[in-house]
Amino acid sequence: MKPFELVNASSLSSALGALGQAKGAVAKAGGVDLLDLMKEGISAPPRLINLRTIAGLDKIAAASGEQGAVLGPLATLAQLAESKALAGVPAYAALAEAAAAAATPQIRNMATLAGNLCQRPRCWYFRDADYHCLRKGGNKCFAHSGDNAFHAIFENDKCAVVHPSAAAVALSALGAKLELQRAGKDGKVATRELAMADFFVAPSKDVQRENVLAAGELISAVKLPAPQAGQRSAYIKQKQKQSFDWPLGEVAVSLTVTAGKIAAASVVLGSVAPIPWRAKKAEAALVGKAADEALIKAAAEAALAGADPLDDNGYKVPLVKALVRRALTQALVSK
């Protein structure tokens, strides 16, 4: 690891200021992935702006009336998993489940929501500094011609990484919005709000980044839509081993059931593509119908339609299909 300067920020605005000033300065929240990247020699920022010294960024505000829940960017995965504002609300259950199932207890205690969303991929070629891959500015995806058992089955023609964030899968299904802030030229804070789908960047758009976060910009809040009557959600993942392991596949679903019919559906797959993968065909198959076994099966088939596995990851297709069926079933039986 290269030597670096650590600056403890006292407020969000001072952090944004510090990020805007120093070239190459990087924000540090839980530091879980950032320190990995620095130790692996993938990233060598000269200055870290520590956000953990800012009070109040881990607040979780429960939904109330028309107002959905608002999650502080530094809320830890452990806090999200245990929060009554999430786990106790059927519409939000997927996020609590995703947070609870991620990584290990030690990591969940350190890892923050914003940090989780901004993680870089775990692809073993990307993580090895000696592999000058596309994502690191090279001209080749080593996974295509190498071992790709844990890689993408969708959107994998350029770079076959999978997005590593479990929270991103759940938040995408819940229709969350991200509030981003940066220091403007006038010294004021510039704020923008983006849908999850607009935050993540597919390799076809820019293979060297996973999201649109600009230099010096931070996720300042995660906003969930207000829960709808009859809305319930679920998140499921499958790992090879049941102790700490990265998932082979993940599914988050959100269903709004009114008068016995599915009025709204979102189905998002994880660990299958470089971005959280919205299964629009599955959603279309579900909406307007009464849920039964045949419908669930059809939706699962639709969710994996168009999957284009590489040499070693064809198993993900039947595996994720099963997860879609299970997640839909779980959401439908939950109250």
């Binding site: 690891m1 030597p3 775990r122 073993w124 070629y125 090895d128 000696d130 592999y131 080593f142 011609s145 190498g146 071992d147 058992a149 844990f150 499958q238 090879q240 081993k241 049941q242 102790s243 700490f244 392991d245 990265w246 082979l248 070693d312 990851n313 064809g314 198993y315 039947p318 595996l319 299909k321 099963a322 997860l323 069926r325 299970r326 079933t329």
Partner: protein, 756 residues
């Protein structure tokens, strides 16, 4: 004078009276009739508290005044001529104190050591490495077994160790061993039922929690060395050679070792580099490898490609067994897997041919029962396939074909413990649909195991009696986690009628008496008889003294128990402590050299395991629900640590069966998962119920009757799990690890073509 005694040997229900010739001065072996106070009863590890409280100091914890930190410069290419190693810039970096460059002409794997740098901190050393410039002339390389076996494969060793193979053959293949008995071709012709099948196993890494590490403090022609090792004296000799000093001037400390599993028999290149850096700088040098180095360059269990042919007659009696195996341990290391086939089962005709294949990867090292879990994975599945063809129950088939009474009894015990008859699917894959979505299938499987470990006539233990009644047991050897430290105290405690906790054991310091490396599961059967011998000699001396003190005749029998020495009738007694006060010297040392083995009841160790698994047929994920491990352990010394050994072996075997796999990249020759994140090792949630059935066998091969237990219980685990998976889903997975991808592929193939 050699003495002949009768001993009751065997196991409950099969006790025989066997005449044994004892080497001069040896005590009679503890046998089935021995009434023992300490041996055979659970004893907490003497170092348990130190380990769980962090008080135990491992090599990585050692700090010496003025200590320097060293890092290793490693090859960046899998095959290259090393033209120049330029360390000039690195030497100039502030804080760099020493540089040693190895005379490497050819790099043969990514991560091969080239040089080492000692500096005032780990960080400075790492930065200095980045300043080194190595000029390479790269060559084609090969990292996969199948690729290395092709005729056109680049030769890993110039000239080709297997160059003798001849034109049209890969220079990387070396026939390592060929064994044969009977006429296999004839046996196969006579066979009514035949199985021909190909099995594969993966490269597995030792992954000790404590990576290899060493601290060398060389001054005034003497060296103190702290080393994470399973062979203190081998390290002593290697360091002495590197420093060109007599072995007596090197003292190796290994009080605590964080795992070895076979990868820590030597000082290693890093150890020799540390020694040279210490000599060069005149300062203590610490060189501890990081996880990436540990997973890349310090050893592995080679992979395997095994072609088995088995034949049985109409009654299900084996008529021929044959295996041809290939495997790669990288640039060096034996990859044979044929021993289980050659040594298990009674069959007149057997052939076993093994080949090592070289690849541009880090060298292999012995790993917990080398070759055996791989070999048994293939053999035990093939046996099940043959039994199925012959229409014979797998356990009945094994009992019919294996006259070893211990293993037969173990199979019966195991079948009873897991509910073989009632709970195993009569038809493979025909079990109930379980789980919330009807996606789970359960199955039960069995596999045999064996090992060979009656101990060797090497090494020595010292017992010191002090005038205040304190007893010390001293060994220069090491305890790599098996509980050896505690066992030695127990044996001496038994001999002297004391509680084990009253005895202090000193271990892991080569200023103590010689002990061989901890390999082949020989430490307990080698060192416990030496401890008994030393304790026995101390006892003889104390007996003579006690007779005098108590006014008893020269032949009067004495009882040593509960810290007292008393006449047989109990009429006269003296406390152990008071007796020691009457010793003629303040401290008396009794030496126990390990005598040659006596006649053994059995020369091999028997074990069987039965597994119950649950397979998700939609995702292919396998969960091991239960393992019944029935294990011969000779005479049990400490059931508590014995169970611990079996638990550990079963977990490591299960982890190998389902998860672990080193992945080599053919593009740049790196290990893609040289970490504990993507190299998957079973964790707490994956642990099944483990029913350890220790099988006390009075073996008689040495004075304690002990056999080693480190390796035997891993042999059967992967095979038992694989057979259970077949029983659950009706499709065979022929390769390790049994991943979701392989399970789904096997299911799809079975659906398409019908189960084979």
């Amino acid at each position: 004078m050699a003495k002949r005694v009768k001993a009751k040997l065997g196991f409950p229900g099969h006790i025989e009276s066997v005449e044994i010739e004892l080497p001069p001065g040896e005590p009679a072996p503890w046998d089935a009739d021995s009434k023992l106070a300490v041996i055979g009863k659970d004893a907490t590890r003497h170092d348990a508290l130190a380990k769980v409280t962090g008080k135990a100091r491992y090599t990585t914890d050692i700090k010496r005044p003025g200590m320097l930190y060293a890092r290793v410069l490693r090859a960046a290419h899998a095959a290259a001529e090393v033209q120049q190693i330029d360390v000039a810039k690195a030497k100039k970096l502030a804080g760099v104190k020493g540089v040693v460059v190895l005379p490497v002409r050819n790099a043969r794997f990514v991560g091969q050591p080239l040089a080492a740098i000692a500096a005032t901190s780990e960080d400075v050393a790492a930065r200095a490495l980045a300043l080194c410039k190595v000029s390479y002339k790269t060559r084609p390389f090969v990292v996969q077994l199948d690729d290395a076996m092709k005729a056109a494969a680049p030769a890993v060793h110039a000239g080709g160790a297997g160059a003798s193979a001849g034109a049209g053959k890969s220079a990387n293949i070396r026939k390592s061993k060929s064994r044969r008995r009977g006429d296999v071709a004839k046996g196969l012709r006579a066979a009514k039922h035949k199985v021909e099948a190909t099995f594969r196993t993966q490269v597995v890494l030792h992954s000790s929690l404590e990576p290899h590490g060493i601290v060398v403090d060389y001054k005034d022609g003497k060296a103190d060395v702290w080393c994470s090792t399973q062979a203190t004296f081998a390290v002593r000799d290697e360091i002495a050679k590197a420093l060109e000093i007599p072995v007596a001037r090197v003292r190796v400390h290994a009080e605590y070792v964080g795992g070895g599993f076979g990868s820590k028999f030597h000082a290693g290149t890093h150890g020799l580099l540390a020694a040279k850096l210490s000599r060069q700088t005149g300062a203590p040098v610490r060189l501890c490898l990081d996880r990436e180095e540990e997973q890349t360059a310090t050893g592995n269990r080679p992979d395997s490609l095994q072609r088995l042919t088995l034949g049985a007659d109409a009654r299900g009696q084996l008529s021929a067994m044959k295996t041809v195996s290939y495997g790669t341990g990288g640039i060096a290391g034996g990859a044979g897997t044929a021993s289980p086939l050659y040594n298990l089962y009674d069959c007149k005709s057997k052939a076993a041919v093994e080949h090592d294949v070289y690849t541009n990867a880090g060298p292999a090292a012995p790993f917990r029962a080398p070759g055996h879990p791989q070999g048994a994975f293939a053999l035990e599945q093939a046996i099940d396939m043959l039994a199925e063809r012959a229409g014979v129950d797998p356990i009945a088939f094994r009992i019919n074909n294996d006259k070893n009474p211990v293993r037969q009894a173990e199979l019966r015990r195991g079948a009873e413990r897991i509910g073989w008859d009632a709970r195993r699917n009569k038809k493979a894959g025909g079990g109930a649909k379980l789980g919330a979505h009807g996606e789970l299938r359960r199955g039960i499987g069995v596999a045999n195991g064996l090992w060979y470990n009656t101990g060797r006539a090497r090494g020595e233990i010292h017992v010191k009696l002090h005038h205040d009644g304190m007893v010390e047991v001293i060994s220069g050897g090491q305890d790599i986690g098996t509980g050896a430290r505690t066992l030695l105290a127990m044996v001496v405690a038994e001999e002297l009628g004391l509680s084990p906790s009253a005895i202090r054991t000193h271990i892991g310091d080569t200023s103590g008496p010689y002990a061989p490396g901890s390999g082949g599961s020989t430490t307990t059967p080698t060192m416990s008889p030496a401890a008994r011998k030393a304790g026995y000699r101390a006892r003889l001396r104390l007996e003579a003294l006690a007779r005098k003190v108590l006014g008893l005749g020269d032949d009067a029998a004495l009882v040593f128990a509960d810290g007292k020495v008393q006449s047989k009738d109990g009429g006269k007694q003296i406390s152990f402590k008071k007796l020691c006060a009457r010793l003629p010297e303040q401290t008396m040392t009794f030496s126990g050299p390990r005598a040659p083995n006596y006649k053994a009841y059995r020369e091999t160790t028997a074990g069987v395991q039965l597994a119950e698994v649950e397979v998700d047929i939609e995702t292919g994920v396998v969960r091991v629900v239960k393992i019944v491990a029935v294990q011969d352990a000779g005479r049990l010394l400490n059931p508590l640590t014995a169970r611990s050994q079996v638990n550990g072996a079963v977990l490591q075997g299960m982890s190998m069966a389902l998860f672990e796999e080193r992945v080599m990249d053919s593009q740049q020759g790196h290990v893609t998962n040289a970490n504990l994140e993507q190299y998957k090792i079973a964790g707490a949630v994956d642990v099944p119920e483990i029913d350890v059935q220790l099988f006390d066998v009075y073996n008689g091969s040495n004075s304690t009757g002990a056999l080693g237990l480190g390796e035997p219980p891993i042999v059967a685990t992967p095979g038992a799990i694989a057979n259970a998976v077949y029983n659950a889903i009706g499709a065979r997975v022929m390769a390790l690890p049994i991943t979701p991808a392989r399970v789904l592929a096997a299911l799809a193939a079975a659906k398409k073509g019908g189960a084979r």
